[in-house]
Amino acid sequence: MSFVLFPIAIVAGFIGSILGLGGGVIIVPVLTLIFGVDIRYAVAASLISIIATSSGAAASFLKDHLTNLRLAILLEIGTVIGAITGFLLSSSLKSSALFLCFGGFLLLSAVMMFRQKCDPRAETNHPWAEKLSLHSKFPDKGGWVHYKVANVPFGLISMYVAGIFSALLGIGSGIFKIMAMDGAMKIPMKVSSATSNFMIGVTASASAGAYFLRGDVKPEIASPVALGIIVGAWIGARVMPKLNAALIKKIFILVMTIVAIQMIIKGLEG
């Protein structure tokens, strides 16, 4: 019966790819609310699929010159330490608390997706950014656009929080990372998005490796989920230019809100 998961994971990967999200926000609710799988197994399976999509797409992100590699390595320190914290917290949190966290995170993500529109620029580099040469450039319609990196310490703290959410809930926390890079560090949205996608694999690997060794990654669900999301993300990347992404985004915000409420209700039921 696990074959049912394969097409669902394809849809999750497809939607995730179009909206710039990992499939985790879709696959964890499906596994828990529809199939009744314990949330810990669902989280572990979801993290595996995040590694697959991030590692598979890393080459494309770098080729487009949108990823800021140096910044990614610095911020990965925050996300990996956050992932360790999240893994440790997962051992002491009850399933009901995880459902409440997931529901709350989905609601927050829906609000952020609704508001996502700013594209600010930093005038000067933060001293750490200056020392590590984190400023860079990316290609745009009118040629190369140079940008600087602000507020690095706040970025690191935000990545730590994103890492905790990723490990606890089996998600890439991409929307959180983009918000921190775009809003606080004042990095252009395209660069924030590509750098976040590049980092997600390392963040997910930190907690997925721990869950895997603890025995929480079950091949009967992790295999169809990982394979389906790889296929879905691949299809999504190819058909994206032909789709009305704005309409899909609006529908998804509505669906996400409904799922969030269901997750919160399940959490409150204990």
């Binding site: 019966m1 595996i48 360790i84 060794l213 990982a226």
Partner: protein, 121 residues
Amino acid sequence: MNDINTMELKISKFLRGGVILSGIIIAIGWAMSFKGDTNPFTPLQTYSPLNLVDSIQMQAILQNWGKIIAYLGLTILISLPVIRVFLSILLFIKQKEKAMALLGFIVLLGLILSFSLGIEA
């Protein structure tokens, strides 16, 4: 810095190959362990901790080679970002970028620490 980007691109292409390889192995394992008449979700509705080594030993006793192959594919997949960080460190050392190499090393230590917590849990 352009050299670094070129080398990172090569590393990333290697990772994409790794994802394809692990995907093929996972698919083979999944197909081999496929049982159409049973519901795989029932035993997963309650959390019952059983570490990786014990899980693999149990599958070996049950002669469920498909699941063991799937575990191999999952191991390769989870290792890919760790390999990426390790190769990036080597790259920064080669470019004499000490600060960046040190940052990469901290990330690698974090990954190792995280994995070791999974063994102890």
